[in-house]
Structure formats: structure tokens, C-alpha cells
Amino acid sequence: MNSDEQWLADLLKRAVPQPPRQLTHEEITVRHRPERSRKGWAMPALAAAAVLAIGVALGAAATRHPGSGVPNLQGASGPAPVSSPATPPATPTATPTCGSAVIDVAPSAPGDSVTVPDLEGQQLTAAGQALVQLGLDVRITTNHTSAVPAGTVTQQSPAPGMIVPRGATVMLYVSDGGRAAAPTFAPATGAVSGSGCGTSAPSVVPTGPASSSTAALGQVRVPSSIGMSQVQAEQSIIAAGFRVIVHEEEAPGNQAVPPGTVWKQDPAAATTVAPGTTITIAVQPMP
């Protein structure tokens, strides 16, 4: 290696940050497309899981949207579940409502659109398989919570009942069961301002003799991500050498926080911690 090559090798190795999280095999195996499956057990299991998931989703969707009728859970063609519950391949007639937003999707080509099932509370594997079976793509994000067992879907986007084109991506937020030993949120204290966009630069704080004896060589100051968009916050936290866990949580009613904005973080800004510490941020959910 010449000196330029050595320079680049050093630079690359030094600059790559620690990944924010470790991938798990579940998020890979559920992306496994059934039509490409060569595993003997996969097909029956997939079909069964999908039918089960759709059954649950039907029930849940029906109670959730009493005014809009039962959403059509299947496109008319494509890799739909083989033994479907007796649902005629009708075109969607109702415009389902989702929160306050009215989804205006013209179902001109019913084979190309599907209704997103309700997957919250289900196990990731079943949920992912149900989506794949409907011809939807799956992306998974870990949600740090111990409120529900690990592997349970806590949130999804788009919401149940939405009509989306086949091949669209559905985001699943999956509980880690509180496994990542991140600190849990303390109740929010003080007012949260929506304008604290400037990241305070993390600076190396020399550990004086008075501070904790367990502290290693240097500690760093936690940047503020309050008021940033989720992506902005993630990037600046990671760029500053920390790990990040994103957590969707509604701000208390007296705080006007725009959706997608970070309104709480733990540890708090300006706290001094070890480099690489996990910072948990709370993002205001989309309405």
C-alpha cells in the first residue's frame, strides 16, 4: 500500500461510526418472499399465518371503522392467500377514514391496490408474512418499550384500512421488550420549546477527580435534539458518536408539538455520558 492508500484506509476505519442498532434475523426472514421460498415449511406456514392475520384484521378493522363497512382486504388478483375467508373479490367502494384524514384513492385497478390490515398487537413474523402475502413490502423498526413482549407489533404505518398500491412499503414498529438496556424515560420536566434546533456541539469533558470513578478516559456532552425532525435528530446524534433509539410517544396535551418532531430525550441535553451511549428520543406521532 502506498501512502495515499494508507491514508484512505486509516480515514475510512476511523470515520465509520458504531451502527445505531444491531439487525435481527426476524427482520430478514419475514422479508423472504413466498414465491421464492424453497423451504418446505414456509409455504403452509405462510398461508396459515396470512389467513389468521387477515381474519384478525377483518375483525379489528370492522370494529374500528364501523361507519365505513368492512374494508376489502384483498386485491382481486396477485399472490392473495389461497384459502381466503369468504370475501368476494369486490372492488373497494367505501373510502375508509383513518384518523381525521380521508384517503382519496381511486380504486380504478383493484388488482393493483390492497387494504392495509391491522397488525398492531401481532407477532412480527405473522404480521410480516401477512403483508408479504398481500404483495406489500415490509420495513421494520425497533421500538424500545417493555410494555408489550418483544416481537410484538406496536405501531404501523400506513394505518389499518388504508388502501395502498401493491408493492407499497408498510413500516412496522416492533417492541424490543425493553431488551436494549436504555434508560427509561423520566416524566418530562419543564417546558419543551419547539425552537431548540441548534445542536450543541458535543465536547470532550475531562473527567475530574470529583466525578465518578467508574468513568473512563473522557466523557462527552449529550447534544440537544429537542425540536428537530426525527431524521435530523437521528443524524446529529449518530454523527456525534451516540446510539439512538426512536420511540413514538404523544406529548402531553398542553404541549403543541408538530408531528414527527422530537419533544423529549433521555439522557437530557448537556448531560455528560460515555461516548457511544444510547440516547432515547420521543417523537410526536403522525396524526
Binding site: A9, R14, A15, E27, I28, T29, T199, A201, V204, A240
Partner: protein, 173 residues
């Protein structure tokens, strides 16, 4: 289900190194990097009965990742467009050297072509030989050499990177 257990172990072991390479390939974008690694690993899982018996299953996984990256380059990410998205906050670092270095590198990577990025990641981050790199990318050793030389020349001219001496600077933590 030993097969699934083996794969789970493999994912756990390879997650960090693959994500590191993917971070460089994608010009420092964790979301894209995770997507890339997940896609590559699902390719590995699809052929797991065969891959598990290989001498170097991780080499297969990295090959799958680089191939996926090169196949996707036009569709999912292209080098030049993304630099405007970098948050300003990451630049204003008050002298925290590593963040400066990292941010400069992200900008610089996005100036390279996808093939140049792939070559430098394989050669200088993963420390693979020219022959191995050529094999993974499905090109000749000559191409590896010329792409690497072009990438280095380009990076050497980048402001913010060129003045970083080897082995020093930036390592603040």
C-alpha cells in the same frame, strides 16, 4: 430449527461489520445502510442451505451486499444528489474532530461513483486484496486498480479531507 438458529447467529455476528461497510457505500445514511444490509441478508437466507456450508459465508454476504448496491444505484440512491440533505448541525461541531472528519467523508463519498465507492470500501475498509475485490465486483483487477486510483485522487482533492494526515487527527474519543 437449527437452521434458523444458525442464521440468527450469523446475522448477529455480521450485523455490525456489514452495516459499517453499508454506511460507507450509501454515503453515510443509516436508513439506506440498514435497508441494504437487510436486502443482502435476505439473499443470504434464501440460499442459506448452501451458504451455511461455505468456507466463508461472510464473503458471500458482502458480495451480495455490493451486488445489491451496484444494482440499485440508479434506483435507490445516486451519489451526487444527497449532499444537500446533510444537516447543518453536524457541521457546526465546535472542534470535535471526529464529527468533522465523518461529515467531510460523507460529503466526499457522495461525490464518488457507486463503483468507486464499492472499490474503496472493499479494498481499504474491508482490507480485501485486489483480486478478491475484482472477484466480488465481477470486474478485472485492472478495473479495480484504476477505479481505486481515481477515487483516491478525487478524495485527495476534497476540501476537509485532504488536510487530514494519516493516523492522526479526529480521534478525539
Amino acid at each position: 430449527m437449527g437452521e434458523l438458529q444458525d442464521f440468527a447467529d450469523f446475522v448477529r455476528r455480521r450485523s455490525d461489520p456489514m452495516l459499517g461497510s453499508a454506511w460507507l457505500l450509501t454515503g453515510g445514511d443509516w436508513a439506506l445502510a440498514e435497508d441494504l444490509v437487510q436486502t443482502a441478508l435476505s439473499e443470504v437466507w434464501r440460499h442459506w442451505d448452501r451458504v451455511a456450508l461455505m468456507d466463508a459465508p461472510e464473503a458471500y454476504a458482502h458480495k451480495a451486499m455490493v451486488n445489491t448496491f451496484l444494482r440499485w444505484r440508479g434506483r435507490r440512491w445516486s451519489g451526487e444528489v444527497a449532499s444537500a440533505e446533510l444537516p447543518d448541525s453536524a457541521r457546526d461541531t465546535g472542534g470535535f474532530g471526529r464529527v468533522d472528519t465523518r461529515d467531510s467523508l460523507r460529503r466526499a463519498l457522495r461525490e464518488l461513483t457507486a463503483r468507486q465507492r464499492a472499490v474503496i470500501v472493499l479494498r481499504y475498509f474491508e482490507d480485501r486484496s485486489e483480486a478478491e475485490t475484482a472477484h466480488i465486483m465481477g470486474c478485472s483487477v485492472g478495473t479495480v486498480k484504476s477505479q481505486a486510483a481515481k477515487a483516491i485522487a478525487r478524495l485527495r482533492r476534497m476540501p476537509g479531507l485532504a488536510d487530514i494526515p494519516a493516523g492522526t487527527g479526529g480521534a478525539a474519543a
